[in-house]
């Protein structure tokens, strides 16, 4: 029964990982950019949420209403101000610039908030649970998973059913011809990054409620998101959800064997999948 519990908890954890990964996947899909600072942006959102809850005295979930638009705006400015200049055939500039950004974010947060671990207080939400059979499901993990599913559904709907999504797909296919249609690619890329960071903001707040965080943990979140994307297959958001679930389950089962093995188990499963199915489980595009 303990094992079933581990698998269930892992699945719910996968929802959080899918949220880490969704923004990463979106940006790669639209502009072939991999943002090394992505994990640090998740943590940045968590700190923003912390500041909002402390200064405005509101519940962390309400802080979403402030943090999501702020991060979205920040994403638009970041893309148009800096990242658009790195796009092109050469893969070094975006990689090195986002790496520099990662260092700046981590140390900036360190400077402002110190290295002390922080956590947002969501009150009763953190401990409430729903008993199902002999299992006890935490309300927060279930809520996180539900939000992850909703976000991915929303992103899919945006991509395939709206004019903006059409613009994203066209610019990603052929940016020259997309411009002939009157699409300003710099603006479209800005919107894509804004959307990605809005999703990242949600991930950051949920992370900040769930566990403690400090400025240095961004890299680990990037890696989890990245592993979820690769396991699930590039170009497929539902695949990313599946990848997140597989990663979450690998970690919780590994932790059951030995607590020190939690993160390592996830890495091992990732490497195994990389070895036998290099394109992931449900790929739609190749890397």
């Amino acid at each position: 029964m303990d094992w079933v519990n581990a698998v269930v908890q892992g699945t719910l954890l996968g929802g959080l990982y899918a949220l880490f990964a969704a923004g990463l996947s979106l940006i790669f899909g639209v502009m072939r950019l991999v943002n090394i600072a992505h994990g640090d942006l998740i943590i940045f959102a968590a700190y923003l949420g912390l500041t909002v809850t402390m200064t405005m005295g509101v519940h962390p979930l309400l802080a979403l209403f402030v943090v999501v638009p702020v991060m979205g705006f920040f994403g638009y400015v970041l893309q148009r101000g800096i990242l658009n200049q790195t796009l092109g055939d050469d893969l070094l500039p975006p990689l090195l610039v986002t790496f520099g950004l990662s260092v700046i974010l981590q140390n900036g947060l360190l400077e402002i908030y110190t290295a002390d671990p922080q956590k947002m207080n969501a009150g009763a939400l953190e401990t409430a649970s729903i008993p199902i059979g002999s299992l006890s499901l935490g309300v927060l993990p279930v809520l996180t998973f539900a939000i992850a599913v909703a976000v991915i559904w929303g992103l899919q709907w945006t991509f395939y059913r709206t004019a903006l999504g059409r613009a994203f797909r066209a610019v990603s296919d052929n940016q020259d011809i997309a411009q002939l249609m009157g699409l300003n690619r710099r603006h479209i890329y800005g919107l894509a990054m804004a959307l990605a960071l809005a999703v990242t903001a949600i991930a950051g707040i949920l992370l900040g409620i769930r566990t403690s965080f400090d400025p240095s943990v961004g890299g680990g979140r990037l890696i989890f998101g990245f592993e979820a994307v690769i396991i699930g297959g590039l170009g497929n958001l539902w695949g990313t959800l599946t990848g997140g679930i597989i990663l979450g389950v690998a970690q919780t089962v590994g932790a059951k064997i030995d607590p020190g093995w939690q993160v390592l188990s996830g890495h091992i499963v990732f490497l195994v999948i990389l070895a036998v199915r290099p394109n992931g489980l449900f790929p739609r595009v190749s890397g």
Binding site: A163, R169, D173, I177, Q179, L180, G182
Partner: protein, 235 residues
């Protein structure tokens, strides 16, 4: 003499170190259909890319309705009412047939062309509207590309080598439909390697050879011998 809708004045176009166009002077009158012919590498597509803003050149070389558009981005040029049917069709593979048409109308310019009108012109496109564009034959893809450009309700439409890669019967059909497509009031530039087709639908013709204008004349009266000389650069 009315102001030409499009005017190129001493246009020099470069790709990094390589110069593709040398001092090209050209006019397109309002409402006229102009043909531009030339061999591969003569600079025809470079010219089209320069006009649409995909290739940026120095200021003061390209004028649209009197306005200097030389430095404008491609999306800015598009919003002025210039649309192109690109060489090789270049449909969006991630979009369905219908979505390719809809995105052509992205700018929302007013005019006779809309989704229903394009589907009436090319009924097969309505039939196959939800298929990915790559599932269509070459000729059908060309119809989508033309329809996509029409959806923008442009004042100036550019056709870049639409006969390339198509079977002769398809080319014949498309060129027969072309005068009706271009219709009243629209200006057009037709870039072609197929000389007879280009002359059949246009009123005037320019020939490009190694980046320079080598000939200009009326499509109806121009001499074949002159064209051959200008096309191949033989003295």
């Amino acid at each position: 003499m009315r102001e030409p809708i499009l005017n190129m004045s001493g246009l020099n176009a470069h790709y990094s170190d390589f110069q593709a166009l040398y001092g090209v002077d050209m006019d397109v009158a309002e409402g006229e259909v102009l043909a531009i012919i030339g061999a591969n590498g003569a600079g025809k597509t470079t010219l089209m890319r320069s006009i649409t803003g995909l290739l940026q050149n120095g200021a003061g070389q390209i004028f649209y309705r009197g306005q200097d558009i030389s430095g404008l981005r491609a999306d800015q040029v598009a919003s002025l009412g210039i649309a192109m049917v690109p060489e090789g069709r270049q449909l969006f593979p991630s979009l369905s047939v219908e979505e390719n048409l809809i995105i052509g109308g992205q700018l929302g310019r007013k005019g006779p062309w809309n989704l229903a009108a394009v589907q009436k012109l090319f009924p097969i496109l309505e039939e196959r509207r939800n298929l990915p564009s790559s599932a269509l034959s070459g000729g059908q893809q060309q119809m989508v590309a033309i329809g996509r450009a029409l959806m923008a309700n442009p004042d100036l439409i550019l056709f870049d080598e639409i006969s390339l890669g198509l079977a002769p019967i398809i080319i014949k059909d498309i060129y027969e439909a072309l005068p009706g497509i271009i219709g009243e009031g629209m200006s057009a530039i037709i870039v072609e390697q197929d000389i007879s087709k280009a002359l059949s639908v246009s009123s005037r013709v320019y020939c490009l050879q190694e980046g320079r204008v080598s000939l200009e004349g009326q499509s109806g009266t121009i001499e074949r011998a002159d064209i051959s000389r200008a096309y191949f650069g033989i003295e």
